[in-house]
Amino acid sequence: MEQNNNLTAQQSLQIISETFNNSRKGILRNSAKYFMLWGALLTVTSLVVYLLWHFTGKPQWNFLWFAMPAIGYPAAALLGRSDAAVPQNEVSKMLSSVWGVFGAFAVTLSAIAVALVPMNVSLIIVILFGLAECVSGALLKNWPITICGFLLGIGGAVVAMLVKSEAQLLIFTLAGILLLVTGFIMKLQYK
């Protein structure tokens, strides 16, 4: 693009809408990789903890959950370094905030449940997850993501109340897959 001062009104509007949309798409496409990173981590962690608990009968393997933020946050920071030039817009900032808040609640509640007050952490986290996924879908104006988030939150809460011990963890495998799918959808939606 070079200098052209003899624009018609249509050309001007076309430049505005094309530039604005391309920039928006690029920013949201860039956000997709964070969904994929956390989705992959959640899927792997939940499966590993499930299998170890299932075959050894020891619920202490749940401490492995704390490895997830320990790996995820530095990995996300590394990913962010590679795209330092990509700015944030309102939607990507809100997505970061929603999942940042979710992460803070999930880690803090898990720590409290382990150290202070025992509680059904799976139930609380799956509801928070469904809520965060629903809000993400609404921000991205993507109904499948919103509906999947809603179904996972509500369905996961029911399963967390009905199913005991390690089988509960499979809800989070499903949640991880949903995050991965969300990332793929974003990649396709903002191609």
């Binding site: 624009l7 009104a9 530039t19 920039s23």
Partner: protein, 97 residues
């Protein structure tokens, strides 16, 4: 009578720069150059013009060890951009081009 189009914005590259900055909090020079496909020299000149008009602010700093120029739209720039778009809409709704 149609409102006069802001001559500073009525230019392909400057308009593209303002369109990018209107949708983000801030953007660095490299990103704007990639998005517009402009040459570094030409982009620098146009950014200086927008900065001189008070439509954007330009901050030179470092990201790690690399130099980094960050551009941000100002409230005056947002207002001018909004007026420009409104004026365009009036032109188009009247059938003029």
């Amino acid at each position: 009578m149609f409102p006069k189009l802001d001559p500073l914005l009525h230019s392909e590259l400057r308009l593209a720069v303002m369109s990018i900055l209107a949708g983000v909090e801030s953007a660095d020079f490299t990103y704007i150059r990639t998005q517009t496909g402009a040459t570094a020299g030409n982009l620098s000149v146009q950014i200086e013009k927008l900065d001189a008009a008070g439509y954007i602010t330009v901050e030179k700093g470092f990201k790690g060890r690399k130099p980094c120029t960050t551009c941000r739209i100002t409230p005056a720039g947002q207002e001018a951009f909004g007026k420009y778009v409104e004026a365009l809409k009036e032109y188009l709704s009247s059938g003029a081009s």
